[in-house]
């Protein structure tokens, strides 16, 4: 049996992601075969959707779940991350992990005998969220290539943004990145995605949603600002309002990895554009598919 770790979008190719989408479609139709085994969730950072949807996905596949809770573990006695991963690996068949340090999932994958799935490593990657986002867009629009995707918010610190820019590039989507000054996407991600996939990526600081098929919003991370008044001003400015979507395509959809604070105005919820709750629901079939793929590759 060959296991596959899911650590970074950079490790994956289009064919692999499409295989995962096919499995997710089967999962939605209840056609994925049952499987035995144990999923360990090891979340060293808070999580609602990622952790619970991994647990739900495993249970729906017929697996059992063990949950590592850092606050009541030997981490409190000073046990290292590496030793913790080696212990978890003894008690399960697959590990879903989230940790505040970048590269933690890659290190876990090198230490464990069983497959490791990255549920977010610091400000680096969140590949399973990206697959949920891509799957949601594909379900809504029927395709990914040639779409105009507008990113909106803090593109510098959000791992979801890093992974998704690369993932959309892989599928040939064009991107407009709108962010406050100083919170622009990492230049190396933009450059790499453009060069590798030949897609168009335009960076802007002002609101421009012209011809958008998809608006992908993210939280402005107030904690990153030294000046809280400045943070408040930026958060006000970067609140998605219905009027911004006038120049977007009529059937444009709005996505958000959630949790949202104030960055999406309440009028968006009932506008017909909102798809963030459908996106969150897609987390279960996609994570069922990812578990299945990782264990059977």
């Amino acid at each position: 049996m060959i296991y596959m770790n899911i650590i970074s979008m950079r490790d994956l190719d289009k064919k692999t992601v499409e295989s995962i989408f096919s499995l997710a479609e089967k999962a939605e139709k209840g056609k994925l075969p049952e499987r035995k085994g144990i999923l360990a969730t090891a979340f060293f950072e808070p999580s609602t959707r990622t952790k619970l949807s991994f647990q739900s996905a495993a249970e729906r596949l017929g697996m059992k779940v063990v949950d590592f809770i850092p606050e009541v573990s030997s981490l409190q006695k000073g046990e290292s991350f590496s030793d913790t991963v080696k212990m978890l690996d003894n008690y399960c068949d697959i590990i879903a992990i989230r940790h505040p340090k970048e590269g933690s999932a890659r290190l876990a994958a090198r230490l464990a005998k069983h497959p490791v799935i990255n549920g977010g490593d610091g400000g680096n990657e969140h590949p399973t969220q990206t697959m949920i986002d891509l799957y949601t867009i594909k379900k809504e629009k029927g395709k990914l290539d040639g779409l105009n995707i507008v990113f909106f918010g803090d593109l510098k610190h959000a791992r979801t943004m890093r992974s998704l820019i690369y993932g959309l590039g892989m599928f040939g989507a064009n991107m407009i990145l709108i962010s406050p000054k100083g919170l622009e996407a990492a230049p190396e991600i933009v450059k790499e995605t453009k060069e590798k996939f030949g897609v168009e990526i335009i960076e802007k600081n002002e609101m421009d949603f012209t011809n958008a098929d998809v608006v992908y919003a993210g939280r402005i991370q107030e904690e990153r600002f030294a000046d809280k008044y400045e943070a408040k001003k930026v958060m006000e400015q970067f609140r998605l309002k219905l009027e911004y979507l006038k120049k977007a395509k009529k059937d444009a959809i709005v996505l958000h990895p959630l949790p949202r604070l104030g960055e999406i105005g309440p009028e968006i919820d009932d506008s017909g554009h909102a798809r963030y709750f459908e996106e969150a629901a897609n987390a279960v079939p996609i994570r069922m598919a990812i578990i299945q793929y990782a264990l059977e590759k």
């Binding site: 970074s8 991350f81 340090k101 970048e102 590269g103 933690s104 290190l107 610091g122 680096n124």
Partner: protein, 141 residues
Amino acid sequence: MNVEKITNGTVIDHIVSGKGKKVLSLLGINENYPYRVALMINMPSKKMGKKDIVKIEGFFVDEIKAHLIALVSPHASINIIRDEKVSKKFEAVLPEKLNIGKCPNPNCITASERGNAEFIKEGEFFRCTYCERQFKSSELV
């Protein structure tokens, strides 16, 4: 400026001007080193205009150490001296893969866990295989 020949050891020539001291530091040569060491800074060079040269008695640079030298001074010439003659000559080249020290990203897991960071060469940059950030070669030492 005349500096005595060494009998057995390494002469590193064509070091980027001003980097000679850093090369010695990367090789772990400090004030406690027991044998003769010469550091020549800003020596005239037809190829480079100015260059640094170091001569180290009793110390032999291998390919792994040459990778470290290449991080601060790619293309430095390494001459292994035995019985006052050049027994081997090679260039310091950047490796395709590096396993050294810690990642410059303070939030990389390698900064807090045991074991070396690992970098893959991508054009003029190196990418940490753990945190996936790109760095210039000079940032790694």
